[in-house]
Subunit: 430 residues, 4 copies
């Protein structure tokens, strides 16, 4: 996602310089902490074109600060290495040629240590100039922090994909602390607002351009499930022949399933007896926790599951309307370098797991809001550039840095992609 959210903030915090400096330091440190257990090789390999090497994430986020803050706004800045723009630009056409994305994994040089040195040099320079930056430039630092948080999540999911290819099933991190498991109660429905509703970002806080403008929409009578779909419920779907029943699937989804031999969520593994009892995660190969939310399912799978369940996926407006009342920083998010993992719903009433745990597929295509205008210039190779063929996901995941998402936050992926922590919340018409 961050690969695409590199975009102009609609409106930036008016935080004082000290707060910006603290936030900058904290964000930059978390990236290094996430990379700490990685070898040079771990940080270099690329397991598919959609994914990038950890080292690349570490360098690209640094290039972002160096380019859009230091190069553009600090007089006499000398670039750390003039060749890095070619290596570490992601997709900014306005910033010139760059290495083809599927070839990022061939960059064994610069080494991980050299990239760390690059980070240190840029950090020192940012910290030096930050106290004197004018507000518009300070907003770019803020944007760079949000951008880096997106790459932190991608670093984890790309690393998970890489390690999943290794027959040695390496664990990237220690298991996350986990509250004693409770079997989730049966799913209940929570009625949503109907009629006109406003969605989209407005106000002072940071947001990406695609989150606005805030606008009126119309909601039909509907309800949302009070919690996420669990691995146990997914196993019921599988046991009922869900992956073998054409009538449950979108045509494109059925073709995808057939072509790729899809039989279960990504990273599920059969045990010696042939049962789907294990899955691979950032803490290695583990028993599947039937109470925890299902993760790593594609839109096609989410949609088929919903049809099987006699329900549907929420629209993004339904989701946002419900989420607006909740605390976006309160869920199961990423705080430290441990193995991110969604957790079972806690007991209680009302909507739970709306923020964190897994990104929730909505039935809404990722398109421009009414009145949407992207920012100008390279930095505004706006989110709008990706507005075809993708679906919106909401709420963040266990691999999203805490504080990164909002009720208005729009993530988006192609319907076949599932290497992110993606899951399912059901909705229905009333």
């Amino acid at each position: 996602m961050s690969v695409r959210h590199d975009a102009m903030a609609r409106s930036a915090e008016t935080a004082p310089h000290a707060a910006a400096a603290r936030r900058f330091a904290r964000v930059r440190k978390l990236s290094l902490d996430l990379a700490a257990p990685l070898s040079d090789a771990d940080a270099t390999a690329q397991s598919m074109p959609d994914a990038s090497p950890s080292k690349w994430h570490l360098a690209h986020t640094t290039w972002f600060f160096e380019t859009f803050v230091l190069r553009d706004h600090v007089p006499n800045h000398r670039s750390f290495d003039g060749r890095f723009a070619f290596l570490f630009n992601s997709y900014y056409e306005a910033e010139g040629a760059r290495i083809a994305r599927p070839r990022r994994g061939l960059l064994t040089r610069p080494s991980l240590d050299e990239v760390r040195a690059y980070r240190a040099a840029v950090d020192a320079e940012i910290e030096r100039v930050l106290p004197d930056l004018p507000p518009a430039t300070l907003a770019l630092v803020e944007l760079g922090c949000h951008h880096e948080e997106q790459h932190q999540e991608l670093l984890l999911t790309d690393l998970l994909h890489l390690f999943a290819q290794n027959p040695l099933t390496p664990a990237a991190y220690a298991p996350a602390a986990r509250p004693p498991g409770a079997v989730p109660e049966p799913l209940r429905w929570v009625e949503g607002r109907a009629g006109t509703a406003e969605i989209g970002h407005s106000g002072d806080g940071f947001a990406f351009d695609c989150e606005g403008p805030r606008h009126v929409t119309w909601l039909q009578p509907h309800a949302l499930a009070d919690r996420l779909i669990t691995n146990g419920e997914w196993r019921d779907f599988m046991a009922d022949g869900g992956y073998g029943t054409a009538s449950l699937w979108l045509a494109d989804g059925w073709a995808w399933l057939r072509e790729n031999g899809i039989e279960a969520p990504a990273y599920w593994r059969r045990d010696a007896a042939g049962a789907w009892s294990q899955h691979f995660g950032l803490d290695g190969l583990r028993e599947i926790d039937l109470s925890a939310p299902v993760r790593h399912v594609s839109y096609y799978e989410a949609d088929a599951f919903a049809r099987w369940a006699g329900a549907r996926l929420p629209t993004e407006a339904e989701w946002e309307s419900a989420a607006a009342r909740l605390d976006p920083a309160s869920g199961n998010f990423l705080d430290a370098p441990v193995a991110a993992c969604p957790l079972p719903a806690r007991g209680g009433d009302g909507l739970r797991q709306m923020f964190g745990d897994v990104w929730e597929w909505t039935g809404s295509a990722y398109l421009a809001y009414p009145g949407f205008r992207p920012a100008a210039g390279a930095i505004g190779e706006y989110n709008g550039k990706f507005m075809s063929g993708q679906f919106v996901l909401r709420g963040g995941s266990c691999a999203t840095p805490r504080g990164h998402v909002r009720a208005s936050y729009r993530n988006f992926f192609y319907p076949h992609q599932r290497w992110q922590f993606t899951g399912v919340r059901l909705a229905k018409d009333l």
Copy 2:
């Protein structure tokens, strides 16, 4: 499109049997008329996986009547040839195995004459039983007629694609009669309705399942262009470097353009001097009429053009809200086997060319309306099956049989597809 619209009518005409019989005869005859100038070879070849041979269209539409009317509802019906289900089923999973779509062009047998004999036999049987059919079965005949009209359009566009591959530039049909050309007046804006609006089909007439249910939506203040974009305006876009400016394009569109070397609308050809002065149509190779609407552009191109023009594409709700007041049978539609061709806008005020001429790309993804429920059974391998990755087009084209479309009619294609008569109407926020 008909390949996908094969769906249950939400609500069928209560026409008397005589009217149904007249309509059946008229529709079936037009298909034969369209095929009249074709050789056996013309009717057999398949120029790409997206297209089907003419012969296949003629046989598949017949198979539809034979299967869903005669086999399912007429006692003791004997199938014309038991092997035809394998050959002429399109995509109905519930109807069993079928020949792979890209291999339809290898069916040199049965011959075109044998397919005509198949049509004649099924027609005779339908005509024999029709007077006594109960309403629900009569509705299936009506559905079959709408289904066949969709295939008539595909027959023309697939044939156009086939002939466009032939260096001999064969003309399939005589040129359509064409009013003396007027240079269109400058484009003007027509303000649309804002606030709540109802869209979607309801009532007695025929409609495909995806057109309903009728529901409330919310429209932002906006205006629609009063006419379609012309070839001349498209040439301005090209002259201004439109196909070479990355910032105008969606990321997927830019990748598509680069990979396929796209420089102009489909079927445009350079003359000996290198100028894009000709295009290939159902009447062969012709000079481009700069006053006529541009045709055969993809969503990516339509979207890039709109961005270049400082505008955007309409939403389907905006389009339908405006079209609801107009006569859907009054435009430039297909009436007879002549070379379908969009025409310049007539003079005058207000919205013109809303129906007919070219399908208009909207900025709306093809998704379910609130409360959408597909029909049950094989015939309900509903339109919903295609609800991912595609965009909605509205209004019909010069290759659409007159009377086939409605204000609520939703056509849909992938954003790279452009072998249909597809064009552009602009919209803007107010």
Copy 3:
């Protein structure tokens, strides 16, 4: 093969003009006879890039006469249709641009009847000028006849491949007359010549450039099987797990087998009980004759079979050395438009089935003979152009026009190709 043998004769017959005229008429008539049962559609479709439409073969062979005889050697010749060079040139780079090979099947125009008219016009002109042609030009007519015989065989094998795709299993021709089947006697070995031997063409008769120069080679002590491998023996190989035993296969062959799911010779079909009891031929779907030679096997299969049998394939020198004593016109060859089909070996002693029935894979790569020099000019886009990656086949097949092959004749295909009538004769070291 003819697609590649279009080459300069090393030495052409000094036949009188009358003989050349008779031969020209006979060859040209056989092509039309072979095409007689075909519809326009049958003659237009192309089932794979390696194959060409029948219509294309009919036109290309005509283009060859028109170009290299009439255009180049007859003053004031007016081309029949100036656009045909683009359509019907095969691969002569020196003759300019041409339609991409995999797109030949999209040429629904010109029609089969128009191609017949093209043939008639060129034939009339050739017949008019032939009596006065100087010897060098007469040699080009002779070359054109050999060229056309190659395309006659390809027409049959390409047609067989096309019809094999059709679930209706159409028969192209009536079954060939077939002597009462005898069960072949056990395979016996016939010792070959050892030490120096001369191979390659020399002398007055026609030959393609790659058949010469005649030269000395050295043969190790060896023996050849006295007959071809039968379908029954192939079934033994299959029953013994031949297609599932990696150690029998070349690495490239094993990869080919796995990727394409190869389990049996091309055109073999399982019956309802799952047994490989039928195969598809020019006379439609038939029971496999266990006494007849196996046909439609690739080099990979032939090589694996030989290894399984504890033997090997012959070298081309071994084969030619043995064949030089036999009558090349005496085997089971194509004489008329009936369904070509290899026949069981007749009883008796010594080498049988050396000519006709099936092309015999040799273990020799198709490479230049010592001292090989291709002819100059377009017509000499010599066989040498294909001298990498292919293996030599010898002896002709039941689909080769009688009189076309010689002991020195070298056919060649890639090791995975098997749509020709290709089979196996074993050899062993002594």
Copy 4:
């Protein structure tokens, strides 16, 4: 090549145990020396399916000793890590499942250090048991050394390919010492032996199975060029339009050239002025030495060059017959971890550069010699397995460990491959 030469020695040295131990130690040390400058990431990445990571080479050669010596012949051997067989088996079908070749670059674990530990453990065990090994097992150690020498060359060429993808143009090793450059004298012809000649290995020394049996062959009168083709001569070929002249190329070669945009040997680079003045090597980006032999050309290029020069490539029999009189250990071979690089021919008469510098493409397909029999068992997944579609190369290169090749040594690659140090020696008929 070693990826394929892992085969049974026909005949092994009867060296005493001490000599075997010295050789084992020397070979194993050179591999480590070659890997010494590599980072963990350098040793892990894989730049194309044909290449393998350095780490993989280091581990696979170790697995070979562990499997075929320790596991098979040392009682109670405990495997170092039971999972390594899956990771480090190359292609031995008899040894079971293994990781897909194109995925070797995803094995970031085990690390390079862990692989070094694996090497150390196996080395210690081999050294412990070696003094008591019976001759047949000692022969396997010898085979393992030859096998490892093949992988040393691949390690270098695979590494070169990897570094060539890196825009930073890293140098893997220090430049090799290079004698002061002399401009080679004009190429002269050295007449070869004609009539019968014996080629192939026999006698006591080590050889791979495909080098035998020794057998008689027949040589036509011919001559070989006295030295290799230089970069300067190759530039003449380019300047004369060699890469743009279809008539010089094999059909498959021309298709390869067009599809891949080939304009020069691999690793040649244009300078800022557009001239082909630089090439990339194990010592980074350097000026092209016009006096040195051209390197990294495919068979297609070698063959086209020879045709342009009015000559041809030698046959392997011609080459071997000439080389049999020369010292195979005397050329420009690999002795130490410096940047392998072919050198200009020294002055003098007679054949020079026959051994070392670059592998010389022959015009001979890689096929079995008369009477060839592969060894039995897994270790005999013989060279014969690769006997289709490839051409023979002779003489070794600057990246081949000194002492590895013989006059009878047959290397082989597909005609498009050129990441080895491959070059050209001309031949002609007399």
